[in-house]
């Protein structure tokens, strides 16, 4: 390609990514190890099991549960879990027999990703962002969660840098289970609030 003339076709997306990576490389920013570290974190460290540990502990340890609802960020730190500096607050949302919480970010796709994992594709889709604030019950039903009419819905739109996670209702048949076993039953979807357990 002649650098003097502007190209006529949009560059393939892989080329565009490679271009900025090359720029960072040339500027001495050493992007490769950072990409490796970040990708490892995204895939191995920021996993829904973090949030599942929080939930299981909140189910089994009443004092922790109270601390979690009082100050989520401090409480999850007790379990060795951290959040980015700009996430200054974590609000744990308590589902009950009559209240169901669900999380969205209508303006972009913010989440407490270090705790509940990076958001799944559908969470970032325009359809979920547009619809769940206005048609929460309908959308949840379409997603397989048909809530009885006596359960109220609370939708949390992540518009500031406060982050949310849903604490699902513990299934009654699991009362008394050890914490480790409880961790295994908590799903990412239940912590976003599009599923109950």
């Amino acid at each position: 390609m002649n650098t003097q003339s502007r190209p006529s076709q949009v560059a393939p997306i892989e080329n565009r990514v490679a271009a900025i990576e090359a720029v960072f490389e040339q500027r001495g920013m050493e992007p490769k190890p950072f990409i490796e570290t970040m990708t490892h974190a995204a895939e191995q460290e920021w996993v829904p099991r973090n949030g599942a540990r929080v939930v299981a502990k909140a189910w089994t340890d009443l004092a922790f549960r109270q601390r979690l609802f009082a100050n989520g960020k401090d409480a999850v730190a007790e379990l060795g879990l951290s959040m980015p500096a700009h996430h200054r607050h974590l609000v744990a949302l308590e589902n009950t027999d009559t209240i169901h919480n669900v999380i969205v970010c209508t303006l972009c796709s913010c989440t407490a990703f270090t705790i509940i994992g990076l958001p799944p594709d559908w969470y970032k889709d325009l359809d979920y962002r547009a619809r769940v604030v206005r048609e929460s019950r309908t959308v949840l039903r379409e997603m397989g969660l048909d809530l009885p009419p006596e359960i109220e819905i609370r939708v949390w739109d992540t518009t500031a840098d406060t982050r949310y996670m849903v604490i699902p209702v513990q299934p009654p048949e699991t009362i008394g289970w050890p914490e480790e076993k409880l961790i295994d039953i908590v799903t990412k979807e239940s912590m976003i609030g599009v599923a109950r357990l």
């Binding site: 190209p7 006529s8 490679a18 920013m29 995204a42 594709d121 559908w122 359809d127 819905i153 500031a160």
Partner: protein, 205 residues
């Protein structure tokens, strides 16, 4: 800005492509974009508000047709050009093709005057406020009444922070809105909780 990104409550969207255990990434380049923009933030090239705003500044058609990580990449590239890290020409030379970027930004603004402090239980109204720059007030709450549920730590005022304008951090309030007030006769009944910056709120009379 009243951009196409402000999707809450907009109709005509479809079924959610939902699957349990759905992935966050679909391709290797998406992971690299996620890391590279994170690196730029970590290095102080831009902040998260600038990052979000540069996504919103994408031309409307591109915004709606791009995938999540393509939007993320476009913001990263736009800000690296705007911050002088690289020229568009160099990017296009390296990428061997056109590199779509976002549109220029409108000016930012500082915290709004006469801020009021609210307590849980206070009745508030979102100001009937319009601003061409970055704003974290979704259009569906503009002018609507709600109830303060709690207060969050102070955050940088996004209308300033996305534009390199000096401003003080300010409280955000968790405000609960009834869908009956947001979309009368045209929504499923629910409470919608929004994290609302102090500057956007006034006391309801």
């Amino acid at each position: 800005m009243d951009g196409i990104h402000d999707l809450g409550g907009r109709q005509g969207f479809g079924t959610i492509r939902y699957a349990v255990g759905a992935p966050a990434f679909h391709a290797d380049w998406e992971k690299r974009v996620n890391a590279l923009y994170g690196m730029a933030v970590r290095r102080g090239i831009f902040n998260m508000d600038e990052y979000r705003h540069a996504i919103e500044r994408m031309p409307a058609r591109q915004y709606l047709s791009a995938s999540y990580y393509e939007r993320s990449l476009t913001s990263l590239l736009t800000l690296c050009v705007e911050k002088g890290i690289v020229t568009r020409e160099e990017l296009e030379h390296l990428a061997q093709g056109i590199v779509p970027l976002s549109e220029p930004s409108a000016p930012g603004r500082t915290n709004l005057p006469d801020p009021e402090t609210f307590q849980p239980g206070d009745l508030v109204r979102v100001k009937n406020d319009f601003f061409a720059g970055h704003v974290r007030m979704p259009g569906y709450i503009r002018g609507k009444p709600g109830v303060v549920v709690s207060e969050s730590p102070r955050y940088p005022f996004p209308d300033a922070h996305a534009h390199g304008v000096e401003a003080v951090d300010e409280p955000t309030y968790d405000v609960a809105f009834r869908t009956e007030d947001l979309w009368p006769n045209s929504a499923d009944s629910a409470l919608v909780h929004v994290g609302v910056f102090q500057s956007y709120l006034e006391r309801a009379l």
